[in-house]
Amino acid sequence: MTTEDRGVRLPSVLTRPTVESEAQLRALLGALSGVDAVGAEARAAKLATRSLKKSTKMTAIDLAISMVDLTTLEGADTPGKVSSLCAKARRPDALDDSVPSVAAVCVYPDLVAQARAALRGSSVKVASVATAFPSGRASLPVKLLDVRDAVSAGADEIDMVIDRGAFLSGRLGLVYDEVVAVKEACGAAHLKVILEAGELATYDNVRKASWLAMLGGADFIKTSTGKVSVNSTLPTALVMLEAARDFAETTGALVGVKVAGGIRTTKDALRYLVLVNETTGAAWLTPDRFRIGASSLLNDLLMQRVKQRRGAYARPDEFSAD
């Protein structure tokens, strides 16, 4: 056994399969192993007991900050709110420039231009939800227009939603075709495909939808919109990370994973990092392959960061409320 066999083993050539028919897609997804819900949840719970201390915790907190997609997706969003969020994204802690920038700012399409302007000159990406987010209940032309609108306004990344209704009613070809079409509409922008795992109900569906999205060209697969009652959970993220790992081993393509919704504390975030660490490994421990969609999480990470350095807890008001 050589060392190459010990981690994620990629094929020597890229072999991303092309899907030519719904029947073929069905066969590909049907061949995936089932997920035993109890086992998956037990594994996630066990990993949640990992204890990160000292320098590991410091590293992990900074890593988590750099993976944040700082998000505002409210009907009440305004250019002003987006601008201040972008300022926070560039420099999360006004008093400490050793804090890394977050990965991206995530907004609705009509605010992309505002974000683009506010982030000019920084490494922070502009992400936009699209495709009639969060329900996805619009015709494909409307969804594609939504995407093109965001891209032309300067979005680097598009977070689309899959048609859960179509998926649950077995119209897998339709879901796949939409992913492919959106990917094409994205052009150079990266595509994150939101599975809305809470609506898919089973881990088997999460695994199938993950593969469908990856086959369709997703650069990231994402757990949730944050707009339904069940958002990202550790076992869901585990199943998606396993899918990303297996997809990489099968095709050579490394697809990222984004968790979103309900991740508010440092403890939550670090648990996700442990999952990544022990499921897909080092190659995914980068903002290029793992993201955390969140808003209030960032300040908790900053608080914990200060606590680690100072040895004492800080006041919440030390950090800007954006």
Partner: protein
């Protein structure tokens, strides 16, 4: 790309996260717990119990002689006749509930002591051993005043004095498995903990004092095999309950053959973990890992034989080995440790010897690349492939972190191979097809069958073996039978 392929999983290195040792307030020396008090052994002999992870001495523990065993049995008899027999089931229940609560209250201390004395990872003593021990008392407490409804006819009677001999792999949990049902059924006990792991039972003795359990109802005599033999041979004992190796179990059954002692035995195993091609692959890999590396493989029901369907064997082995390499082996007190220390030098020798046979007989050995500490007793998690049914590593219980992988082609063949052993304790079945799982389960000769899971325990679930894995059950309604004259 290349650094991706060569980087092992788990590159976010975890700094040491040790549980604080200071919660374990160990005494320098421990006497024998007889008639409610710690007493000196008659011959003033003692032995040292070690931390197998460091080889450091933890405490001096009394070596009970046959005179001491006699004192303990006499105390148990007196307590049985004068107190316990007259204590109502409802009152016995309350004592057991008290004990359960005290274990919960002192759980952190017990977890640390267990890890220090046994070498098992703190995650397991904290999340498995101690909570389950408390749960056992809690569960059996409820039976004490409901024995009429346990299905053995009206007014079932206790046996009297139970002599109980337990192993070193789950020291406190095994004590709970023995003491809780015995007391619930109305017996008194003399418990002999394993020589290498006496400490948690002695803390349990303190707990029994705190619970104000009447003196003599439970007596704890520490010592080596000679102490156990004295207990087995003592004419004042009505029942022997033993958990340990099949060889010792056989000797005990022989020694009590001409007595009227009741006997239950929970002995060794060579559990088959059967993997079908449609198994839920990620959870199955975790189940294989849990099956053999839980508690360093010091588990009588360990899934030490992996029977994998040929069609998926290569894929399963590849994923399994990748996972084995991820196991964190080391300081048992570290909260992130997955695999702790081997319990004793003697056990380490046995594991090494049998593993050496694996190679001699032609199996392919794969050992985890993890670094092992310099001091203490350690064995890297090991997987043997190309194993045949006839190999020693496929037949003998290794009782260590060593997995033998064999293959099969059909369900029929899987069952035949799984049953091709004198043991019959536990098996695993992994498949997404319910009908086949039940078909296999029906045909496996084993006392416990885990389907799509492994190494799960619960006080409500009867545990025990068939054939040379012993007889009698522990846990559940069935476990009460071992302590009732029915």
């Amino acid at each position: 790309m290349s650094d991706l392929t060569s980087s092992p999983l788990g590159s976010l290195a975890y700094d040491a996260a040790p549980e604080s040792r200071s919660v374990a307030k160990l005494r320098e020396s421990y006497g024998l717990f007889i008639d409610g008090e710690f007493t000196d052994p008659s011959r003033h002999q003692s032995f040292v119990t070690l931390n197998p992870a460091t080889e450091e001495s933890l405490a001096n523990v009394a070596q009970a002689s046959s005179d001491d065993v006699d004192r303990a049995v006499v105390a148990a008899r007196r307590a049985y006749e004068t107190v316990w027999k007259k204590t109502t089931g409802a009152e016995r229940a309350k004592y057991l509930f008290r004990i359960a609560r005290l274990i919960q209250e002192r759980s952190r201390e017990l977890a640390v002591v267990e890890t220090l004395d046994n070498g098992k990872a703190i995650r397991e003593s904290r999340d498995v051993d101690i909570p389950l021990a408390a749960a056992h008392f809690f569960y059996h407490a409820g039976w004490a005043d409901k024995l009429d409804y346990a299905g053995f006819g009206p007014n079932p009677q206790p046996l009297g004095v139970a002599g109980q001999i337990i192993p070193w792999n789950f020291p406190l949990l095994m004590a709970a498995w023995k003491i809780a049902p015995a007391l619930a059924a109305g017996n008194t006990c003399v418990l002999k903990p394993a020589e290498t792991t006496p400490l948690s039972a002695l803390i349990l003795a303190e707990i029994l004092q705190q619970a104000e359990l009447p003196p003599g109802v439970v007596n704890i005599v520490t010592g080596d095999g000679s102490t156990g033999a004295a207990l087995v041979d003592h004419p004042g004992v009505d029942k022997i309950a033993f958990t340990g190796s099949t060889d010792v179990g056989r000797l005990i059954q022989q020694r009590v053959a001409s007595s009227h002692k009741h006997l239950t035995l929970e002995l060794g195993g060579k559990g088959a973990n059967i993997v079908f091609e449609d198994a839920p692959i990620d959870e199955m890999i975790e189940g294989i890992i849990d099956g053999i590396f839980f508690n360093q493989g010091h588990v009588c029901c360990a899934g030490s034989r992996l029977l994998v369907q040929e069609s998926v064997a290569e894929e399963v082995v590849r994923r399994l080995i990748r996972r084995v390499d991820q196991l964190r082996v080391g300081d048992p007190l570290d909260k992130n440790t997955d695999v702790g220390a081997i319990n004793s030098a003697a056990q380490l020798e046995r594991i090494k010897e049998l593993s050496a046979y694996g190679e001699i007989e032609g199996a392919t050995r794969y050992a985890s690349s993890c670094a092992l500490p310099d001091r203490g007793y350690w064995f890297a998690p090991t997987v043997f492939t190309d194993v045949s049914q006839s190999h020693r590593i496929a037949r003998e219980e290794i009782f260590g972190p060593v997995l033998s992988v064999l293959t099969f082609r059909t369900p029929e063949e899987a069952v035949a191979k799984a049953n091709n052993t004198n043991y019959g304790l536990a098996c695993g079945v992994w498949s997404e097809k319910g009908s086949r799982t039940l078909w296999v389960a029906e045909r496996l000769r084993a006392g416990v069958i885990w389907a799509n899971t492994y190494n799960r325990f619960d006080p409500a679930s009867p545990f025990g073996g068939v054939r040379e894995s012993g007889f009698g059950r522990e846990g559940g309604r069935h476990g009460l039978e071992a302590y009732l004259n029915v």
